[in-house]
């Protein structure tokens, strides 16, 4: 069978599995729909959380980012795992003890205010839609490259699948589908990583191979990589480029943002007991760590392989993956000195960013662009970092079934995260906006209907984002984490660990965190992107890390403002006391 037939087979089989599970575990009540009837086994919930959490960004983009960022890539590794420690220790058990359906439920009750609930819903919807747009795009990329269908058709197909199990099954359907999706995605991630680790270092465990010597040599992989990157004009692979304070703040923003992401928190509402919520967070991190400790190894292998296989080779003899991805438009070769030989080193290929392809072919048969060539350096290769994981098996010449597996894994990662996000969006609309705020008279049956209806609408909007991707998807990821860190996390934390913070404090805290963080990010990312350099940043903190400062502002504002107003009511005090007991 050809690679493409295999890909159709693997993707088809995995989709059939997801739909089968969805039909088997349909939701019958609002409790089933929102929190899977609170009957999920903690290990299964850990797997579902891991699949929910690891998105197209983790599966497809992260190792590629690390490959080109070197040590700076650690911000993602520590940031996206360390948040689980905060979640397990500071939030999950208490929120499970509280025992309602949604994150705004907690904020609305603890701060005895519809206004607080609405601010929380606003943040939640913004954070979740930002995220979902990226997932649908990921689905589109995988479809277009591996199944050679149109990106639009790929996105629509993905929408139908998610529609099926999210609308029908709610949280219950999603949970069990995510367990299956975790298995598919982790298998798909580890198999090529193990193969490549053996090829490069002879060590079958990527986490160790990464620190091992190269095959038939006494040189360590990382030492070799340091030397090669320095020779080509880059900063050494194992050294930081960003300043320490920026790395500190980005890591912190990602950690606290992770702990404040509604679609992750809500997963801990689905287990039967408080002690299960703690355990479940532990299992979730084990399952996540399996991928996250492999990713930096994959990143270093990919960088090494990439340099080895294209550097100074003739374009005519370039490997087929190079031309395949050039065909999709994610690699470009700008033969600056017209010698037909590919030269890769530090520096921009074009003066004006991403390649814009014309219909013409160059001397060696490469796709020509209409960009302005950057002639102050010799680098001729433009490569989109998102393709490293997908291209890795091809770069390492692995068999067709491994490539097919990676395609199925990428889809599993994107679909599982999209479904989880769509569910929190729909429950915040049907539960928090309708049932708890604007239409308290609706029956449970009507609420369930509204929940399904809003899930359906959310899927259509997400799909539109996938088909007509707003150019700012990559930029707004910082936004999602920054906002979660500067609004939701402090409100939850203070709600549990203090009794004195009242509704005035919490609302002004959330709003000040929201405003500070959004203004900073919008200014540097949208209004004045040319100004986005370290010398213009406050204390040298980039927009990616500013959520951490926003969080501190939220904390200070909440505590100070609370002093000027009446303390929370007795009922709220008792609620907090109750949360703190086993």
């Amino acid at each position: 069978m050809t690679t493409q037939e295999l890909t159709y087979l693997f993707v088809g089989l995995s989709f059939a599995l997801y739909i089968g599970i969805a039909i088997y575990s349909r939701a019958g009540s609002t409790s089933d729909f929102y929190v899977a009837g609170k009957g999920v086994n903690p290990i299964a919930n850990g797997m579902a959380t891991a699949a929910d959490w690891m998105s197209a960004a983790s599966f497809i983009s992260m190792a590629g980012l690390i490959a080109f960022m070197g040590k700076d890539g650690s911000v993602y590794l520590m940031g996206w795992t360390g948040g689980y420690v905060l979640l397990a220790l500071l939030l999950a058990p208490y929120l499970r003890k509280f025992g309602q359906f949604t994150v705004p439920d907690f904020i609305g009750t603890r701060y005895y205010s519809k206004m607080a609930r609405l601010v929380a819903v606003l943040c939640l919807i913004f954070v979740s839609f930002t995220y979902v747009a990226g997932q649908m795009r990921g689905v589109g990329i995988v479809f277009s490259r591996f199944l050679e269908v149109d990106i639009d058709q790929g996105v629509m197909f993905g929408m139908v699948i998610v529609f099926f199990y999210a609308v029908l099954g709610g949280m219950k359907g999603i949970t069990y589908t995510q367990v299956a999706q975790y298995c598919v995605l982790i298998f798909a991630y580890l198999v090529p990583a193990i193969f490549i680790s053996i090829l490069i270092t002879g060590n079958p465990i990527p986490q160790l191979g990464f620190g091992d010597t190269l095959v038939n040599s006494d040189t360590y992989l990382l030492d070799k990589l340091d030397q090669v990157t320095v020779d080509l004009g880059f900063t050494a692979y194992t050294e930081n480029i960003k300043s320490n304070i920026d790395i500190f703040c980005i890591t912190a923003a990602l950690m606290f943002g992770t702990a404040g992401l509604p679609h992750v928190i809500v997963r801990f509402f689905t287990v039967p007991k408080v002690s299960d919520a703690r355990k479940s967070a532990g299992y979730a991190l084990v399952f996540i760590a399996l991928l996250y400790t492999t990713a930096p190894a994959v990143g270093s292998f990919a960088r090494m392989n990439f340099i080895d296989s294209v550097q100074d080779s003739k374009y005519i003899d370039a490997p087929s993956w190079f031309k395949n991805w050039e065909g999709v438009g994610l690699i470009a070769w700008n033969d600056k000195n017209a010698d037909g030989i590919i030269r890769y080193e530090f520096g921009n290929t074009f003066k004006d960013g991403r390649p814009k392809f014309s219909d013409k072919l160059g001397f060696s048969g490469e796709r020509l662009t209409t960009n302005i060539s950057e002639d102050s350096n010799k680098n001729e290769v433009y490569i989109d970092r998102d393709i490293m994981v997908l291209a890795n098996p091809e770069i390492a010449n692995l068999p067709g079934w491994v490539i097919a597996l990676v395609a199925a894994g990428g889809l599993a990662a994107a679909l599982s995260t999209a479904a989880g996000l769509l569910l929190v969006i729909s429950s915040s609309i049907s539960h928090d906006l309708l049932k708890k705020t604007f239409k308290p008279t609706i029956t449970e049956k009507q609420e369930l209907l509204y929940a399904r209806f809003s899930a359906a609408i959310a899927i259509v909007i997400a799909g539109l984002f996938g088909i007509y991707p707003p150019g700012f998807v990559a930029q707004v990821v910082a936004f999602a984490f920054g906002l979660a860190a500067s609004t939701i996390f402090p409100a939850l934390f203070l709600g549990i660990f203090t009794k004195s913070v009242n509704k005035e404090g919490a609302i002004s805290g959330m709003l000040s965190g929201l405003m500070f963080t959004s203004i900073y990010i919008v200014y540097f990312k949208f209004i004045n992107p040319d100004f986005n350099h370290s010398e213009n940043w406050i204390f040298g903190i980039s927009p990616e890390g500013i959520g951490f400062i926003g969080m501190i502002i939220n904390f200070v504002t909440s505590i100070l403002v609370s002093r000027f107003f009446n303390p929370p009511t007795k009922i709220v005090m008792d609620l907090v006391d109750n949360l703190r007991q086993p």
């Binding site: 520590m78 795992t81 420690v85 220790l89 620190g211 091992d212 010597t213 990382l222 400790t293």
Partner: protein, 91 residues
């Protein structure tokens, strides 16, 4: 329910949180970021130590921390339940 007991429970809980989160901070922000360059002077196998903490070690320790927390809290829950039963017996 006895106020004294639940206060004691909450205090022990906070103590556990504080000690585990200190380790969390030291291995990630400390070893992985602030003192990473100094640790990089030490090399074990192919890994510089600071780099290893930033890309591998901190994650392993995070996992261990959560399971230690699960264990300590289960023990605390049990101890607390026992003292409540004793209190009820006394009355």
């Amino acid at each position: 329910m006895s106020n004294r007991l639940s206060n004691a429970y909450w205090k022990s809980n906070l103590k556990i949180l504080f000690s585990l989160l200190s380790i969390w901070f030291i291995v990630s922000f400390g070893f992985g970021i602030l003192w990473s360059d100094q640790l990089d002077l030490i090399q074990i196998g192919g890994f510089k130590l600071g780099f290893w903490f930033a890309q591998q070690g901190s994650i392993y320790i995070f996992v261990i921390l959560i399971f230690v927390y699960v264990h300590l809290m289960n023990r605390l829950d049990k101890k607390y339940k026992k003292s409540i039963e004793q209190e009820i017996d006394k009355n």
